[in-house]
Subunit: 315 residues, 2 copies
């Protein structure tokens, strides 16, 4: 590791060789002939130029995607896809817009006509739907019942319909609430033809898109929608996150809850059967929930923003 002492002439020589090689794309043999050196000498000078920092290679994308964070996130959690959008901490709505557009791009890129798309309800999924370009005839399946958000945007039905319109494929939708007061009602609803038809598609779903909720006030539309007793009960069970209505503990294990019997939506086992579930979390507060979701093995892809990615990776 001794500091090689090269003077100005060596630096200028190395620089012009490096220019020819890296920027002009000449071969080392050509360069050796041109400068009257052996190709080995050229190779050694180029090596030294790399090591000394004279030649600097950087991989960076000018277009709102932090590729380094994306790759680290993907590799750390063994994901199929990770996209980290490079946005300053905007308000949630702007963040959702950026994530939605990136997720739409990702989806358009990976979806094939043989795919069957499942959509959970989340505001970021809604934002994605708005930005989605035409897809090649993919059927779209609704994964969760309708959550009434006063003054909120489209319902899960609207989103599924919209995406199916963009894709030209069949929309498997149903009008049922996400949560109902008792298990019997839920069971009855599940037997309704519309619901059963959608649920019958679940084993065929190859890609799903969902949000990630942190089990805390204001961090999960589901949390905000259920009763005080349910919140407390799930807290006691160690629920940290919810993905498409599937509850997870901090270490990513699905948590069986009584609430699940009173919900109309995809279950943990069915979710696990989906080859790639894409989640679109945002807001640094959700870091623990995102970690749980990524550890669970249920999730195959993520689209998020810089701050949350840093928080999840712990730096």
């Amino acid at each position: 590791m001794a500091e090689d002492h090269v003077g100005p002439a060596g630096i200028v020589l190395s620089a012009s060789i490096a220019r020819r090689y890296y920027l002009d794309g000449r071969s080392k043999v050509e360069i050796a002939d041109e400068f009257g050196l052996s190709r080995f000498k050229v190779a050694r000078l180029l090596d030294a130029a790399r090591r000394s920092g004279l030649v600097r290679i950087e991989i960076r994308h000018e277009g709102g995607i932090d590729v380094d964070l994306s790759v680290r996130l993907r590799d750390r959690y063994g994901l199929q896809h990770a996209v980290v959008v490079d946005t300053p901490d905007d308000d949630d709505a702007s963040l959702r817009g950026h994530l939605g557009r990136a997720a739409a791009g990702l989806l358009a890129e990976v979806v094939t006509p043989d795919d069957v798309l499942g959509l959970a309800w989340a505001r970021a999924v809604s934002a994605m739907a708005e930005a989605l370009p035409p897809l090649p005839g993919t059927p779209v399946v609704q994964l969760t019942g309708v959550l009434s958000v006063p003054g909120g945007p489209d319902t899960s039905v609207d989103v599924v319909r919209g995406v199916a319109r963009a894709s030209g494929g069949t929309a498997y939708v149903f009008y049922a609430p996400f949560t109902v007061p008792d298990a019997a009602t839920a069971a009855a609803l599940r037997r309704q033809p519309e619901v059963a038809r959608a649920f019958a598609q679940l084993p065929h779903v190859t890609r799903a898109v969902a949000g990630v909720g942190l089990w805390a006030p204001g961090q999960s539309t589901l949390y905000d929608a259920v009763s005080e007793e349910d919140r407390a009960a799930l807290d006691r069970l160690g629920v940290v996150a919810d993905v498409s209505g599937v509850f997870l503990s901090a270490d990513g294990e699905p948590v069986a809850t009584g609430l699940a019997d009173r919900m109309i939506g995809i279950g943990a086992e069915q979710l696990r059967q989906i080859p790639e579930v894409l989640v679109l979390p945002y807001g640094t507060a959700k870091a623990p929930a995102v970690r749980a979701a990524l550890r669970s093995g249920l999730v195959g892809g993520i689209v998020t923003h810089t701050a949350l990615a840093h928080a999840v990776l712990g730096d």
Copy 2:
């Protein structure tokens, strides 16, 4: 040249492949195996990443040398060596210091024990002498007589002595003025044993260092030293620059002058025989003189600073 449309997934994939290839140094075959692609696909993705600017290679030196300008200057004028010191426009003294150190480094790098070094008088040459590390026993020859600069630094004799001390080689010096009032006196001086001994070395000199003067007030110690008549006469002859007392026109041709007969120093023909003459000009005003010097073919190397290099290259 169509804009390849790649989505976020493609960008992230390309980025992680590029990272493995360019930063981790894996081979394309290894990467292909790792990602389950053909090596051709990997090569094409890497090509696309280069073209799209996802992978950026830059050649830059963090150490006061502008390698790009250096290479351009060298290639433009077919020089053996060019070093452009990246300095903000300081005062002349600071500029001379930077140039002197760079020139000292360059000289130390290229000088061999078989070289014979010639030194013209210039303040930048003096600065170089002060920064010179030990050289391997090179003889040092004085190329020009002594110019008395009131309150100035070392004379040419001092500089040659100093460099010879650093090199451990013989110092060929002589005490004679650079200019004398008449040709007869000059001829007599040249016959002096000391002077003749130094001049006899001129054919053996392999490397010389000189300044560049612009034939204008304050831009050449020689201009400032000679009489009003000489100034005017040389102006009429189209003299633009002087290098070690050799006068050049704008197109780089040596100009024969009456003044030359009254000077004790190296002549144009002898200068041309020296394999590499290194010049150390500074100050943007000197750009025309530097162009003349470089065009003349007398000069084989240059050490200068960013602003003057830009001015010389015309950008």
